[in-house]
Symmetry: C2
Subunit: 502 residues, 2 copies
């Protein structure tokens, strides 16, 4: 009796997924290829397609089929893969239907306008011109929270879109613990007498040689370049249209090949997740990623636990030296390892090291949570930003451009997004600790360039199950225990105690 509606549901989901992939292609193209003058036309095309997708999501419940399926799920009559499909689809539908088309339209228009103003404000170092737009976005996001509904904090309703099942209280408690570890730990590192000279890895790196090296690394770690590609964009990102079409971008600095390489490995972590989703379930939640936090765990695990490790560079450093004999011929592996892991409080989140990174996130989390909960006002942001940067990182912020205006998220309405970055770091450390236990001689395998064991482990435990589990359940299932920041703290302790001789 439920077979036919589920079959129809799946067909509709596949169509919606294909259309969503097209929407993602439009965004990718906008960042990578689109001619400058096409911005307005693209925004309109995007809005039309987004509108069609919205109405197709609402139409999932035509004839009350979806609600009926959800009841069968709730009463245990649908379970397994079909249960996941019904429940997750219902969650998406339920959120979408609570947001009236007029609200979605207003938010989209507000954000679309705000983006341009934010970019201008950042260029001109002029927070004041961005302020009214930010105020309007905050107002709309509060309204979204009311429309969606919540129990304790309106911020819960926003988090739920990105990290389902984890509420504000949980985030707050864990990030507070993390801050209490990181601030004194950073202080100890800053007091270390170890001196690292990052300028020694700078040089002149031809663009096409950088591209070749980046693709060499992608190939070696298992990113399939016949089911994906690497391009350049202002801000690196990854986008998975389908497991067979996953696109990464990086950015290039002529004097720093490690700059592009770091971004490439990070985005490859995202991309390997997208390529590892079970293609036979494409279109359904069984082939969707769990959450932003789990997604970020994949990128950070590759970028940091693996990509900034000794075994990784044991394999790749000779290749790097061969490709760019200047400057690397004169730098020993030990020094190179220190340089790529140098800790240095800095102004810009996206360029932060592993230790300070989460303090950037915690600062943003505290601010945006208080904004949505109405405890602070948008106009207070620049001052709050400076105060927290001083307190957590002991750093003076010389301008709003290098401060509160640096990230795109708030102008894009992405409140509740930042904390998932930190959770990604915590998940990554906990997953990697388990992986090290599960795979004998993991370091030795990485050191000979054998990443298949890593890929297989990630596929089996994380990629292939799609959205079957929530992030919390997945962590428990994979590691045998609930999320525990101690793994991340231990990882930092061990690694940096050695580097900084603490």
């Amino acid at each position: 009796m439920t077979e036919i509606p589920i079959k129809i549901l799946k067909e509709r989901l596949v169509e919606i997924s294909h259309l969503t992939s097209i929407l993602n292609l439009l965004e990718w193209d906008q960042e990578v290829n689109m001619p400058r003058k096409a911005g307005d036309a693209r925004a309109e095309a995007f809005a039309h397609l987004a509108g069609i997708i919205h109405s197709k999501i609402l139409a999932l419940n035509e004839g009350g089929h979806l609600v009926q399926l959800k009841k069968l799920f709730d009463s245990g009559k649908i379970s397994g893969g079909n249960g996941v499909i019904v429940n997750e689809t219902w969650r998406t539908y339920d959120r979408e239907k609570k947001l009236p088309a007029s609200f979605v339209q207003e938010l989209a228009t507000t954000i679309s306008k705000a983006q341009g103003v934010w970019a201008e404000a950042r260029t001109k170092n002029d927070f004041a011109i961005f302020l009214p737009h930010l105020e309007k976005i905050v107002k709309l996001k509060k309204q979204e929270a009311e429309l969606v509904g919540y129990t304790a904090s309106p911020y819960d309703a926003l988090l739920d879109a990105y990290e389902p099942g984890i509420d504000t209280a949980t985030f707050s408690a864990i990030l507070l613990d993390l801050k209490e570890f990181l601030v004194p730990f950073l202080k100890r590192i800053k007091e270390s007498t170890v001196k690292i000279k990052p300028e020694r890895v700078k040089g002149r790196f031809k663009l096409h040689q950088q591209i070749i090296f980046n693709e060499l690394v992608l190939n070696q770690i298992g990113f399939d370049l016949e089911a994906g590609r690497l391009d350049a964009s202002v801000h690196p990102f990854s986008s998975g249209f389908h497991p067979y079409d996953v696109r990464l971008t990086t950015r290039y600095k002529e004097n720093d090949v490690l700059y592009s390489l770091g971004s490439t490995i990070h985005e490859a972590g995202h991309g390997l997740y997208e390529q590892g989703l079970p293609v036979e379930h494409f279109g359904t939640p069984l082939a969707e990623t769990v959450s932003l936090g789990i997604h970020e765990s994949q990128s950070r695990l590759w970028e940091n636990q693996i990509g900034k490790s000794r075994p990784f560079w044991k394999f790749f450093y000779p290749k790097l030296q061969q490709a760019f004999s200047k400057p690397f011929q004169n730098i020993l592996p030990a020094e190179f390892y220190q340089i790529i892991n140098r800790v240095q409080p800095s102004l810009i989140r996206t360029e932060a090291d592993e230790v300070t990174y989460n303090l950037h996130i915690i600062l943003r989390f505290e601010i945006e949570k208080d904004l949505i909960e109405g405890k602070i006002k948008a106009k207070d942001l620049p001052a709050l930003w400076r105060a927290k940067m001083k307190e957590y990182l002991d750093i003076e912020v010389p301008s709003d451009t290098l401060g509160v205006l640096q990230d795109v998220h708030w102008s894009a309405g992405l409140f509740g997004y930042f904390p998932t970055y930190s959770f990604g770091n915590l998940y990554a450390a906990q997953f990697y600790a388990k992986m090290e236990k599960d795979i004998p001689n993991l370091d030795r395998k990485i050191a000979i360039g054998d990443f298949t064991v890593v890929i297989e482990w990630l596929r089996r435990h994380i990629h292939l199950t799609g959205k079957t589990d929530t992030a919390s359940d997945l962590v428990k299932k994979v590691t045998g225990e609930a999320l525990d920041p101690k793994y991340f703290n231990q990882y930092l302790e061990e690694k940096y105690s050695e580097i900084y001789n603490l």
Copy 2:
């Protein structure tokens, strides 16, 4: 009374146009960027979006509004720009509604499968494996003709999709005349004692230097690279998503910079047309191109009348010599001009010179017309092809790969498309003859790199009026007389009599 329905009609047309542009982006991406493995997923995404567009076109007549508007147009109560919009939209709607979804689906699936088989057949030189697919496509295209309806020939119904208002009889008469001019004219050229050595322009041309030179030419002739771009693909093409987003592709040979340049100038002619459409009418027929033939007139005019002329190279040849001193430093402009205009019967249409090109088209036209009219069978094609190549071009076809299997059109179901290429050549010659009369010192302006007069003339007379006139009416309006192949014949006579000393 008609104001509101027309306003709604325009809004819907704009949405359909944005969605169609997205469809075109999917195709562009497929040729330029898409990873190899993504083919099946892309085909599905494409089909879903195409289905949505189809249903939105049918929905244009919801409540009978479109039919009602068409009646008002027919009785003269709607005219001018709105009249064009109503009438052209009705034409599109009328054709679309005659094709049942099941038929469209079957044709799409058949073509999708046939494309792969054709590519394989071409590689393997095996017409037999393609034959059953070709037979099915011919059957379906005949069925399409019956569904759409026609008066004299079923081929009319297919032509109408590409070159509205010109029937099979007209095409036949004009192309027969053209053939009767070309065959003896080609014979005279072949008997000429003038010897041209094309191998002298071959050399080693670095890819990035070729790209720079191609973009230099695009910039100079007026193609806006901030509202478009140039990429590489296996088969050069152009695609206009919007007047502010027009994409060209070309192809590169390491030993021949003129190979990429010829395609680039050809595609730029298409692209300048797309960039010249009136942006304020985007989405409606007032900002659409007239027909394939008129589109091709723009590309051929730039490629041949301008791009293979003495004044054009008076300006660009010194730049070419500077960019690629080897081999061009040792070739005088007079010899260079001869080489780029060399006439040589050859097997492949896309590489044919101006004189033999139309004989390739006439051959295809005669074959496909007879196929659709049921006078010949698909299995007869290889033999017919050889016989006609011998008769028209005096050339032996060594394999089907280099013969009947060379073009993608038939496997893609594009019957009725080929003759528009020849009409493009005829329109181009007639337009250019008029332009030469209208613009004083045209050659001298081109010789100093001033192409603005050309662009302005094309915009005013052709680009800015969108689909206001049919191709035949446009030719009359612009040149003062009906299409007359004498302009093309005269152009060839003059140009090649001098080159070949006839």
